[in-house]
Amino acid sequence: MAVAVRLALIVLLLLGPGGWGHTEPSRDSLREELVITPLPSGDVAATFQFRTRWDSELQREEVSHYRLFPKALGQLISKYSLQELHLSFTQGFWRTRYWGPPFLQAPSGAELWVWFQDTVTDVDKSWKELSNVLSGIFCASLNFIDSTNTVIPTASFKPLGLANGTDHYFLRYAVLPREVVCTENLTPWKKLLPCSSKAGLSVLLKADRLFHTSYHSQAVHIRPVCRNARCTSISWELRQTLSVVFDAFVTGQGKKDWSLFRMFSRTLTEPCPLAAESRVYVDITSSKQDNETLEVNPPPLTTYQDVILGTQKTYAVYDLLDTAVINNSRNLNLQLKWKRPPENGYIHYQPAQDRLQPHLLEMLIQLPANSVTKVSIQFERALLKWTEYTPDPNHGFYVSPSVLSALVPSIVASKPVDWEESPLFNSLFPGSDSSSYFVRLYTEPLLVNLPTPDFSMPYNVICLTCTVVAVCYGSFYNLLTRTFHIEEPSKGGLAKRLANLIRRARGVPPL
């Protein structure tokens, strides 16, 4: 009996405090999202977004209880009276021509633009202090932001959140293009996430994969948003975004098949327990391009269609909070495979061997109607041996013409030809099909100007060398080896005596 009374007392005690201090309705919520977009060039883009929405008025300084919203940023907002803050770190450049339009592009380096509230008296001083504090939080050299690289845009960079007046005096914008992004910037960025990098989509954020990319951009955006549809009160929204583009050749080794494990060397095991929504979207809009179909494995349970950036897009949705998605395999490894239908073409190429055989290229192509098809071949000019040149090398060398053998569809059906009855010009090619005719066409030969050596040079060189050798060496040789000895003049030979006789006869003095 006493024990029962004591137990009842204990139970009452436990329930009492619980009943009075009813658990607060959670004032902040987290949504996390990953969008995987296969790009036209074979690369794949992954965009992470972590959004924490906090239903509170941060203008009052008495706020001291932070749950999902990080304290470092909440204190910044209240201390410097921020209306909006946008900070991004980017490495690389988003190639719109090859990849399509981005969701949110950022300039290479570090970019910081801030709207202060209209209660701030000295905006420049707050701006300088804010950039110093942010350089400490994100381990970046943002303290180099000063009046030499800060501007006050007058027409662009309107607030992205709620604003009741837009006096551009309270806006500051600065870019540091030399700023490098590396793991030391990612580490504090990850620490601002409610689940850090322990659960949910943030387990995929491993630095050694994220920086081995063509484009890496991480950003922090803080702005006030509407709390409800009527928009009568303000909530603060913190969005942390991270976009990366994995290169098909560097990371994918040339193949266009992607999976979460290939991209991040991790798979998803569970959603973040603090998240209200945790979803992965895969863009399957261009599921048929270049005769290849995109197959997503495991097949999605739902899809989402909408007009994004001006075009209609379809996304496959995987909701990590749905237990059917992460099923008995306990992990989710999305795989994207491109299936190519079997080809019906033919290519035969036999490369040349020097001084043995030429190149041979044969291709069977199906030309689409009303189109122009260009076939181009690149070649390099090489130097031949000097004996292989023709006597007139400056004329050039010929490349044999190409041959086009075609079956052309014929508009008018032809009847089969009897070779003995029909004229000779109709029986050149055997025609089997009445709906098309065979024709063989040739292109012009190509005259290529090869690099020609100067053939007169050997002659010039021989002449010059021989002259030099003769003059210099020959002189030396003579000087060194010629000996001089005195020679008595001889009396004269027989020819001289005969000549003297004739001269005496003529009366001319003798030799």
């Binding site: 201090g21 504090v133 381990c139 992205l160 709620l162 837009t166 490098v180 992004v181 793991t183 050694d208």
Partner: protein, 395 residues
């Protein structure tokens, strides 16, 4: 009976004697333990790790600094107590074949960059001025906490520097130098301001011993990788990365430190023996004359680790939830729920508004003293030359 009572008495006496002796032994052991408890005299640990070289071929200096950073973090010093200064970015350099990694051993065995690194001063911020400001505490207002050395008179500080150096100087980023005299004066400032309890200075550059020759403040122990006139050599290149990965002295120091855990009792004499001339080619040197304790009593973890003395208590403290605050905050929120008119988002590109806005005129400032003085001079010269009679044509 007497004999029977005698023996237990003897036994008890013996037992008493034994207990006394054990007690005294235990006392002396307790004394030893108490002495050990107070031996080191420091209550917190700081580390300032500086790499002063820029450019890709100086990869090894960044790897040196990061390997010491890794050891220091592993042994317990938190990031908030480490000031890491790297003059260039090697991990995400375009020439790094494995981005976000810095390796210390070839064949990419050990990534000293890790996943959890926080660099406080990077790239162009690593200058002689910033380094001296960090040491002496004279940082500009607005410097965040992670960039300050907030040490006190009970802090043991480890300072590690690496880069290219010469006889009496260390080169910062190929554009400026710090001399050994400046360094010694900075340490003296730190001593005067009581910013350290004991300081361990390690330097891995060519002719490193010249950098500690001029120290004159107490409680400083210094190690260098080579003597004056000797070069410190690098260890081994990696064929995939294409540069030398580490310097020899720091490579062997890293191997030595990998054996240390927070509980080890290895002392400084073992650190002095690391990398003899046969391995290092240069002769490492050390200086202990300014240090008060004997190096054999100084534990490695006194400087490289953050070993705290922990006292475990079994008392319980009960926390009372304060219900008053929670209720009042609920009420306040309900009040400011309702607003008069709905808010709206700003238009991102209001073309009509932009076209018709007037550009802000800069405020007109009256001409400054220089302009006024210049005009006064011109007018004076004019009137002196041509006489005062021209005044009537002007006024």
């Amino acid at each position: 009976m007497a004999a029977n009572s005698f023996r237990p008495r003897v036994l008890t006496a013996l037992a008493g004697l034994l207990a006394l002796s054990f007690g005294s032994l235990a006392d002396s052991r307790i004394e030893d333990q108490a002495e050990q408890f107070f031996r080191s005299g420091h209550t917190n640990n700081w580390a300032v790790l500086v790499c002063t070289s820029r450019f890709w071929f100086n990869y090894r200096h960044v790897a040196n600094t990061l390997s010491v950073y890794r050891s220091v973090k592993r042994l317990g010093i938190p990031d908030s107590h480490i000031v890491l200064m790297l003059a260039d970015d090697m991990a995400c350099n375009a020439r790094n074949p494995k981005p976000a990694t810095v390796f210390s051993h070839k064949n990419m065995e050990l990534n000293v960059y890790g996943d959890d690194v926080e660099v406080d001063y990077r790239s162009y911020e690593v200058t002689v001025e910033n380094f001296l400001r960090v040491l002496t505490g004279r940082v500009p207002p607005g410097t965040p906490r992670s960039k300050r050395l907030l040490s006190d008179d009970r802090s043991n500080i480890l300072i590690y520097m690496t880069g290219h150096g010469g006889n009496g100087f260390l080169k910062f980023q190929d554009s400026e130098e710090i001399t050994n005299i400046e360094l010694a004066d900075a340490f003296e400032q730190m001593w005067q301001k009581r910013r350290y309890n004991e300081l361990l200075f390690i330097i891995d550059t060519c002719q490193g011993a010249s950098m500690y020759e001029r120290f004159y403040s107490p409680n400083i122990m210094a190690l260098a990788s080579s003597q004056v006139g000797e070069d410190s050599l690098s260890h081994q290149p990696d064929p995939a990365i294409g540069v030398h990965l580490m310097d020899r002295y720091t490579f062997y120091v890293l191997e030595f430190l990998e054996e240390i855990n927070p509980a080890s009792q290895t002392n400084m004499n073992d650190l002095f023996q690391v990398c003899p001339k046969s391995l290092c080619v240069s002769t490492p040197g050390h200086r202990t004359d300014l240090f008060q304790r004997d190096p054999k009593n100084v534990l490695i973890t006194d400087f490289f680790g953050s070993v705290r003395k922990v006292e475990i208590t079994t008392e319980t403290i009960s926390l009372q939830p304060d219900l008053g605050i929670m209720e009042s905050s609920n009420k306040e929120d309900q009040i400011d729920e309702e607003r008069m008119e709905p808010l709206k988002y700003a238009e991102q590109l209001p073309v009509a508004q932009i076209i018709h806005q007037k550009p802000k005129l800069k405020d007109w400032h009256p001409p400054g003293g220089f302009i006024l003085g210049l005009w006064a001079l011109i007018i004076m010269v004019f009137f002196k030359t041509y006489g005062i009679k021209h005044m009537k044509f002007i006024f």
